[in-house]
Symmetry: C2
Subunit: 493 residues, 2 copies
């Protein structure tokens, strides 16, 4: 007799798990084999088992894999296969897997589900997950989902749907453990045992008064370390950190990193506890906001949360063209500056060949400063009131960076461009113009790069927009003006 | 009689908390005032209370503030003040605050502590936090810390210190709840009650065999929902997801987002359970890696984890100059290309004025593609095997982006540059050269931008380096070659 255990391990590459195969020989001795199995291979195995109608074996495989991985396996199936194979999942696993599927597969499944099947899945879902799914579905599907929930759940879903997209309310779940001040530890455990199975987390318990105002918080750890007849009010923490339903979800998520929470209470305008945010949702928000920042910093308007390969050409085009267009048209100014100095440039055409280097170095310097400040703003390391400290620091950094680059450039132009490559027209004075331009443009670039994000934040814009592409456009114009100005003054052209 | 409760609320701006002041009048009626108090103001209040020797009131204030916020308050104090005021913190709060302080303040405090005081703080710390602190301290301080711990703790610390900096082992704690298969639920709770106070988390419990091999996992929630006489082996989950001590900590942190864990077990080479990673540390790793990615993508070599304002000018210079220098020197190639086409440029100097626009647009297009792919790689959305799908998608996106920009540019050059600004030398053919260059260079930019990060990952380099600044340097050279090539062909110069 042989058994096989697939034990999901760390997924170091996409879609790969390390499977631990326990082989039990006829004498009952176990031996352990470790092999890498990709989720694609598991998907193939399941499909071939399905063709042979070996349903029990498929069930065994599903039982050994985490729902998040089952969802990845399902990506390999066609829609019809997905719907058929989904029915082989144990009830609870089915709901956990359903949450992890992409919304197109979810929609197809709901269309294929009978009302009973739909009800079974929805009943197992946590409310905030149901709401997340509903938000992506067309109206007919939403109607069917709501039809298959009891009236209380329906009311909760409708409340949750009303919160603005980026609000703390939109990511909270109304399912939490609430206790009263005079509850004993013993009764608290009874309550958790009775109601806990439907709660996303039972580890943080909230204490509310008769009108549901949040007045305290405690944890199961705290409860476990106290006597059974202790009262909640003796052990609860009364300095509760909470957010309001309409606060920004990003700010709520940041509190998890700062205070090491597992859950964060959410109150309404009257300080009544209406829900909690759990740490897994906070992590999702953090990653989502980081993706958004990185995209914005690279001139991309993010209009979808779909993974890269699922986004169509037109949708990608829509996310990239606005900034490209705007920045291209604003380059008219750099063109005008060059045109204005055209006669001087044609008198000394060698100056042209250093324009790309000067512009890139200026852009990179400004980009470094803006990226540093955008990230520091997002981590709350700096604020508007620090603007002078920031500016003074960046100007000094700009000076030392500019000076080091200028010295290296001065020598490089003489040795490589003039002596080695024998480029015409390079004189000591030309070299001086280029090197001096570097110092001045880098100081400007650092100053512009560090201050624009701070001002953007102050004016309630997203600082991430003030990153490299935008900064480069401004720094280009400044650099060219400095360059031609110095050329005129030093070379008398 | 008046009481005052400072209730920390959402910190929307740095160092600001919303304080809820409950005023109780002589008749015992409560009224609630909400006011914004900055942590700086609280620091000032504490200092003035300290001058008046009102120590009890200071203690009251400290009790109402979360340790993470107390640490921020301490930033306002001088070293001497910090040391004196630290002694007013309740013992447990003191350790929690100590962890949150920056390493310079920690060092100064340890120097000022008596052996007894040091022991008290260290005893309250979780082992992984102690190790984090030790890693930042000079050797003499490390010796003192180790001298003041018992031999078992010292051995654990020494083991943890040996793990490589970026490994899962370096962020794990050896303090976890472990159970045996034949333990009952009741005994499990007893064990948690007895030993739980020293564990960073008690909510995930690990099941090990006699030789400490990890064989199962269960949660307090699961325990709470089972009968007291159920055996652990009946309720434990045997498909455990775990990492190895030497696995990358970033990969370990990613598993939290994927599987919604509160803790992740870490095993050694023989599959023996040696520690766990908790979700709060995973969040720290995620944020740290995101900061590192954003910095790398902007040509910054991150050499410290200090917050922005604490990093000196020289240190900042060191982090920024390497890439600036390298990219500046590699711009020699663009200079050479321009020099090679010098005679053609001087024949038609108008071509020069479009160089900045062409280069910026190429750089921005490539930057968009590389940023998207770098992020997708880091979220495991794409992998090396997707290279052709990615390339084919980006080439098509490049074509539609290039075409739209070219059409707008063609019209813009005619209407604005030629008619409105009256720029000399613009002909339909010149306009055509510029617009065609846009289409071709953007296709190249997207192709280079999307493929370099994928190859970098394949070759085990960090893809984040293949971002905008690096891509721009390559795209610049390609763009100029295309531009001058088209100019030669179409304008016959």
């Amino acid at each position: 007799m042989q058994t096989r255990t697939i034990r999901t391990k760390n997924l170091f590459t996409k879609n790969k798990i390390t499977a631990h195969t326990h082989t039990i020989d006829t004498k009952g001795n176990r031996s352990l084999n470790i092999e890498d199995v990709t989720l694609e291979e598991i998907a193939q195995e399941i499909l071939s088992l399905y063709k042979d109608k070996k349903y029990v074996e498929i069930k065994n495989i599903f039982e050994e894999i985490n729902p998040a991985d089952i969802a990845t396996v399902f990506e390999e199936f066609s829609e019809e296969q997905s719907i058929l194979l989904f029915r082989l999942l144990p009830k609870e696993e089915a709901a956990d897997t359903f949450v992890e599927l992409d919304s197109e597969t979810q929609e197809a499944m709901i269309r294929a589900f009978s009302d009973n099947e739909l009800k079974e899945v929805i009943d197992e879902l946590y409310l905030d997950d149901t709401v997340d799914i509903i938000e992506e579905m067309p109206a007919t599907i939403v109607k069917r989902i709501l039809k298959n929930t009891d009236s209380q759940t329906r009311a909760s879903i409708n409340t949750l749907l009303k919160y603005p997209e980026d609000s703390a309310g939109s990511i909270m779940t109304p399912e939490f453990v609430d206790l009263k001040t005079n509850t004993t530890v013993e009764d608290a455990f009874k309550r958790i045992r009775r109601t806990g199975v439907d709660k996303e987390t039972v580890y943080t318990c909230y204490v509310t008064d008769a009108s549901r105002h949040l007045i305290g918080v405690t944890t199961v750890k705290e409860l476990l370390l106290h006597d059974y007849d202790d009262k909640i009010e003796e052990l609860m923490e009364t300095n509760v950190i909470y957010v309001n339903t309409h606060d920004d979800k990003e700010e709520a998520a940041k509190l998890f990193g700062k205070y090491n929470f597992l859950a964060l209470p959410v109150v309404d305008m009257e300080q009544r506890l209406v829900g909690i945010i759990t740490v897994d949702d906070a992590i999702d928000v953090i990653e989502e906001e980081n993706t958004e920042d990185i995209h914005k910093m690279n001139a991309i308007v993010r209009n979808t949360e779909k993974p890269y390969l699922k986004i169509g050409i037109f949708e990608t085009w829509k996310s990239r063209i606005p900034w490209l267009m705007l920045l291209m048209v604003s380059a008219t100014f750099t063109g005008m500056i060059i045109t204005a100095f055209e006669s001087k440039l044609s008198a000394l055409i060698i100056l042209t060949s250093f324009i790309p280097m000067l512009m890139d170095t200026g852009g990179n310097s400004g980009g470094q400063a803006s990226a540093t400040i955008i990230r520091a703003l997002s981590l709350d390391e700096v604020d508007f009131e620090d603007i002078f400290k920031i500016l003074w620091k960046e100007v000094r950094v700009g000076f030392v960076c500019g000076l080091s680059l200028a010295v290296v450039n001065f020598v490089k132009v003489l040795l490589i461009d003039k002596l080695l490559l024998g480029t015409d027209g390079i004189t000591l004075k030309v070299d001086l113009v280029i090197s001096l331009t570097l110092v001045i443009e880098i100081i400007f670039a650092k100053a512009v790069g560090c201050s624009l994000p701070v001002f953007a934040k102050k004016l309630k814009f997203d600082p991430a927009v003030m990153a490299s592409p935008f900064i480069t456009t401004i720094v280009d114009a400044i650099s060219l003006l400095v360059y031609f100005g110095l050329a005129t003054a030093i070379l008398h052209i």
